[in-house]
């Protein structure tokens, strides 16, 4: 087990082929910036004390 490590370049390298994206040189910087913003927000959200029984908002009604 290890602590989560955020590496935007590694994410782009790993995910772009899986998604079928070509991230050109002009896009790499902005995509990294947006990933970094997302990681910052995710860290904030990760600290939220939510129990296992907390339902997600979009509950399906058949």
């Amino acid at each position: 087990m290890s602590e989560p490590v955020f590496d935007a370049n590694a994410i782009i390298e790993a995910m772009a082929p899986l998604l079928g994206f070509v991230v050109g040189e002009a896009s790499r910087g902005p995509v990294k910036t947006h990933l970094e913003i997302a990681a910052r927000y995710a860290a904030l959200m990760e600290e939220a004390a939510l129990g296992d029984h907390q339902e997600p908002a979009p509950v399906f009604t058949p």
Binding site: F21, M45, L50
Partner: protein
Amino acid sequence: MSLATEDLPAAEIALAVKAGAVGAREVVTTALARIEARKALGAFTDVTAARALAKADAIDGARARGEALGALAGAPFAVKNLFDIEGLPTRAGSKINRELPPAKADATLVARLEAAGAVLVGGLNMGEYAYDFTGENAHDGPSRNPHDPGHMSGGSSGGSGTAIASGMVPLALGSDTNGSIRVPSSLCGIFGLKPTYGRLSRARTFPFVASFDHLGPFARSVRDLALAYDAMLGPDASDPALANVSPNPVAANLEQGVGGLRMARLGGYFAKTGEPAAFEAVERVAKALGAARVVEFPQAERARASGYLITMVEGAALHLERLRKRGADFDPDVRDRLIAGAMLPGGWVVKAQKFRSWFRHAIGEVMKDFDIVLAPATPCRAPRLGQKTMVLDGQEMLVRPNLGLFTQPISFIGLPVATVPVWTTGERLPIGVQIIAAPWREDLVLRVARALEAQGVVSAPIAGIG
């Protein structure tokens, strides 16, 4: 003597048309002339003149036959170009979508406004695929702020803001996922209503983030917002997110005032990370309403973060195929945000949706003690066109996502909001305040907005354009 209908609110146009003081054709012809004269502002992407004139003639014919006319008879309106307009491709601000076949029918809300007598005159500019708070569009050019055309209209319903503030039409529709009605209302100095999530049908409009997408009206008077809202209410099996709640027409009770309402300003998150003008506007509105108390929405920053992540992931999921095949045809600013969103872990978005559930409950508890809470609509007045970053509380941040930092936590849980415009002597540009209520209480936000309008605390003048 001819009536200067181009400056009138929709309600007064309808009264004049019903009384025979002016014909609907004359009203529409005048609006079309102003749209043409002010096209450099970039509000419209499509003008549906032939359709509008035919509709106007039908209204005049109905009046001549003694038939009853609707509450919006003869009032011109336009819609953000993500609404289906029969016969036009629904471009949703994109280059790609304009290759789609023409829409076969109007969006539900367009049809409902026309059923009330309003006359559609065209489609309005918007940020690409609604992922925008600036009103800039890489393909169609920016929708400019009529009060200072070198500045942003706000987005993503930028054309809606421009069209209303410049007096092209008295009524427009837009969408609001994270703030796209409230941001242009603030920057352009007009009234906007984002109803409760699930209140108005989204059928036959192009989506962005299904969890948060709302539709609503813009106007220069609160009565026009109310009349449009009332006309658009009702069930629609074509929108699965529409809630099973009774329609709540609001126009009849608009003048009830604010007596007895429990009101407060939002503190904490909503009282920092903005320019002084944003907080001064809230103070002014709070003072006029006698709202002396301050209350907090707990964990609002986390609500904003969660809404941001859900938007990134759902937005990216919507566009995956287009990103793969047509990446070069996107606005790069939009494409690169979507690409990043596609790369985020699924667990993040599930946790964000769990937090959304928690936040809805927490705010429900807060709102047991208040009927209305107030917050800034934007952290600043309209930035300059092309401006990429801004500094708030000493932090440099991107303009495009952060103009919505005060709107995003509110739409995150679907609360109804009226945005009201505040002006300061010596300042050319306005700034807006959000009037927020508990779910389904559109009647309260519009009553409060109307009371402020009647006091002269807020107003939406047509921009002085040479």
